[in-house]
């Protein structure tokens, strides 16, 4: 560049101030600012498995939250006859799956028994005969697909006079028959429990004690074995009568539908219809029932709701205690840090199982089982959170911007909560979220081991459900299947979700464990 270039000369008048009336500012960003959480969200969104896990967690939480309100059943519901019935869904049942039926091996007597229930109620108990075999003693065995709901069949109920009349009223108005004629009872030593009500047919050998094959007439039909009377209005019965109950050949033998006893009447009812009469809905248990006849679907939701509630409370309380404790430790350091660290070391060294047991023994009577469990979780649970916060404080408290803020006169509290703490928020949120599955898991173990007793008439927990089902693992695996499946899916989801959260908040840690 040289100075002796001949530059053109511009007269002064040709110049004008360009922006004299405008305010000069940097151009505003057209885009929206991306904050810390937005940034994390953008990263989180890219992690497909974490997003799926989050959706699953939300679904499971909704299940736990909503089902207890909308379900026909509640935890205190127990049905003495529909014990251990299998999972059934009316929609899927039409396709032959999820239909509450199970293949079981029966002799001819068993086959006759189930078929007889089907003949009288009009609902086939035996859905399918899978196979038929003869063993070396010449006994025929059938593999039958038996509906676990319909196979309950009939039962005897003791009704008061009014109940008895109401039932007849119900029959008259709806046209649905609940009460069926009473059969002659025999071989009571052989017939167990309510099954006695199902033997309405003549047996081949009434005196035998083991083989209850039916005696069939020449058409292959059962021969009825009802109690008869020559009085049609016997036992105050003026309602529906079954087909064929027309007075018999002499026009004078009627079947008997009720028997007077001390409390009122003994009647024989079709339990499926009787259940509908009592509860106003069809007996369908989506996940089946357990050995007490509780609906597993509802119990699972109620147990999960309890677990979630406990876990979220623990997580929140630990969050506050841990954040405060860790901040103080990390910020002040020195003797305060060492002292506090010793205390939390000691607390963390007590095995949790011992803490839970001691709290349970000392406080369960005073603050309740859940309260004492909450205390136990809180007593040692915050230590991990405090350690995390403390570490973050050590990382940030020496940095220049803190020094600058301190020089400007910021107070300790302001430095802690305004300047350092926000840096730890990502770690803390991840830690808080991961507390939840830990608490749910531990709670299920403790209630499984019966160290905490969470089972009352209106309360249950996943661990209790597992413990109740363990003895029936071979015969009724569905009792354990659903709670186990639920907790497994929950744990997997939370693990994936937690990993996603950690990666999102802390991209530098991606792929590392812990």
């Amino acid at each position: 560049m040289s100075n002796d270039m001949n530059l053109p000369v511009f007269p002064r008048e040709k110049f004008a101030f360009a922006n004299i009336d405008k305010r000069i500012h940097d151009a505003k960003f057209k885009t929206k600012p991306i904050g810390y959480f937005k940034d994390a969200w953008l990263r989180f969104r890219k992690n497909k498995s974490a997003v799926v896990a989050a959706v699953l967690i939300v679904l499971l939480a909704l299940f736990a939250l909503i089902v207890p309100f909308v379900s026909n059943y509640d935890v205190s519901f127990r049905d003495g006859y529909y014990k251990t019935v299998l999972p059934k869904n009316d929609f899927f049942a039409t396709f032959g799956i999820w239909n509450g039926a199970k293949v079981q091996r029966e002799t001819q007597a068993g086959y006759d028994y189930f078929r007889a229930i089907g003949v009288e109620t009009g609902r086939d108990v035996v859905l399918d005969v899978k196979s038929q075999s003869v063993d070396r003693n010449g006994i025929t065995y059938y593999s039958l697909l038996v509906d676990s709901y319909y196979k309950v069949g009939y039962t005897y109920v003791n009704l008061s006079e009014t109940e008895y009349l109401q039932l007849q009223e119900y029959q008259n108005s709806t046209g649905i028959q609940l009460m069926y004629p009473l059969p002659e009872t025999y071989r009571t030593n052989f017939v167990m429990g309510n099954m006695g009500a199902n033997f309405w047919y003549v047996l081949e050998d009434p005196s035998a004690t083991s083989d209850g094959q039916a005696l069939l007439d020449e058409n292959g039909d059962y021969i009825k074995n009802y109690i008869t009377s020559d009085n049609k209005e016997q036992a105050n019965y003026t309602s529906l009568r079954i087909a064929g109950d027309d007075g018999g050949e002499d026009g004078n033998t009627w079947y008997v539908y009720g028997q007077r006893n001390q409390s009122g009447y003994k009647a024989r009812v079709d339990y499926y219809e009787y259940f509908k009469y009592k509860n106003n809905f069809e007996p369908t248990f989506l996940f089946g029932t357990n050995i007490y006849g509780q609906d597993i679907f509802t119990c699972l939701a109620a147990g999960a709701r309890l677990s979630f509630l406990l876990a979220i409370s623990v997580s929140l309380i630990n969050f506050f205690i841990g954040a405060l404790y860790g901040s103080i430790e990390g910020y002040y350091g020195g003797a305060i840090d060492i002292t506090l660290e010793r205390i939390s070391d000691v607390l963390a060294s007590v095995p949790f199982i011992v803490v839970a047991t001691l709290f349970q023994m000392h406080m369960a009577d005073k603050v309740g089982v859940l309260g004492s469990l909450l205390f136990a979780f809180v007593l040692t649970g915050w230590v991990g959170m405090a350690a995390r916060v403390r570490m973050q404080f050590y990382r940030f408290k020496g940095q220049e911007y803190i020094l600058a803020a301190r020089t400007l006169g910021a107070s300790d509290a302001r430095l802690i909560f305004k300047h350092i703490f926000p840096n730890a928020i990502g770690t803390i949120i991840t830690g808080s979220v991961l507390t939840i599955p830990g608490v749910i898991f531990t709670e299920s173990i403790l209630s499984y081991l019966n160290i905490i007793h969470l089972e009352t008439s209106a309360l249950t927990s996943i661990g209790t459900m597992l413990a109740n089902g363990q003895g029936y693992l071979n015969t009724f695996p569905h009792i354990i299947l659903f709670p186990a499946l639920f907790i497994s899916i929950l744990m997997i989801s939370f693990n994936l979700f937690g990993n996603g959260l950690r990666d999102a908040f802390n991209p530098s840690l991606r792929g590392a464990d812990e």
Binding site: S349, V354, L358, L449, L466, L473, A484, S488, M491, D513
Partner: protein, 319 residues
Amino acid sequence: MGKYIVKRILLMFLTLFIIMTMCFILIKMLPLPAIREMGRDVNLILAKREQMGYNKPLLVQYFLFLKSVVMYWDWGVGEQMYEALNVWDVLIQKLPYTITVNLYSILIAIPLGLGFGIYAALKKNRWQDHAISTIVVVFISVPSYVYAFIVQYLFCYKLGWFPLTLESLDTAAFFSSRMIRSMMPAIMSLGFGVVAGLTRYTRAELSEVLTSEFMLLARTKGLTKAQATYRHALRNAMVVILPMIIGEFIGILGGSLIIEKIFAIPGVGSLYIYAINVRDYNFFMALTVFYTFIGLASGIVIDISYGIIDPRIRMGSRK
């Protein structure tokens, strides 16, 4: 090094002492278990309790307890169960079951975990790695009791490979094949989680080492990939993995309460559950100290083993 170890051990005993004191006081504050009167003389039991110092002030009782433990290693006798039997003797008698089951499961799990982890690290970001990582996430998350149910249902009930519960010592010797076969369900249920954990850990550590610069140097100087991996990468990764394995070995003393309950293993865990259910406080106290000690000891052993395996690691810096 020696000074550090002594310091850590002294600190451990201080912690143990504090926890023991707290637990003793909390346990002694509980109401005494009701006396089962059937076939017993109540006055005799009351007299025995008086003689054992149950009515003395708490601190005096604690002093007596400490004295008998420190001087005679006497943890008291069972009151509700194993009546009049020495607590420590019963505990020692239960230990072999817990140790054996856990030891087998770890011995099976370690080679598997290391193998899968190394394989996944070598095939990093290929489908083999993704498959293993996915399975590991599932296996690490699912609670061990769920495996126990699956194993019990599948192998004990449906296939009938293993007996449902543990053989008793009357019918099978401790290390006989029958005994081991009956332990298999528990060994398997415990193993899944350990394999998954170890796989994840090994993969993470090894894949980190594999990308470091000395690996590049090793390859440059002419080692094959296998040689470099075996001689350099694996050894460096082991610095972190080995202490974890050592920690697992100490942890086997504690065992798993829930697995012992499901498979009816008469181990330490079952003893603890039983002690709580019948409220035998002497057992409760001894087992509390036992569990606390295991937890503390495994922490120390892990820290010390870091220093022994790799002296470059400064004492106490890894926690």
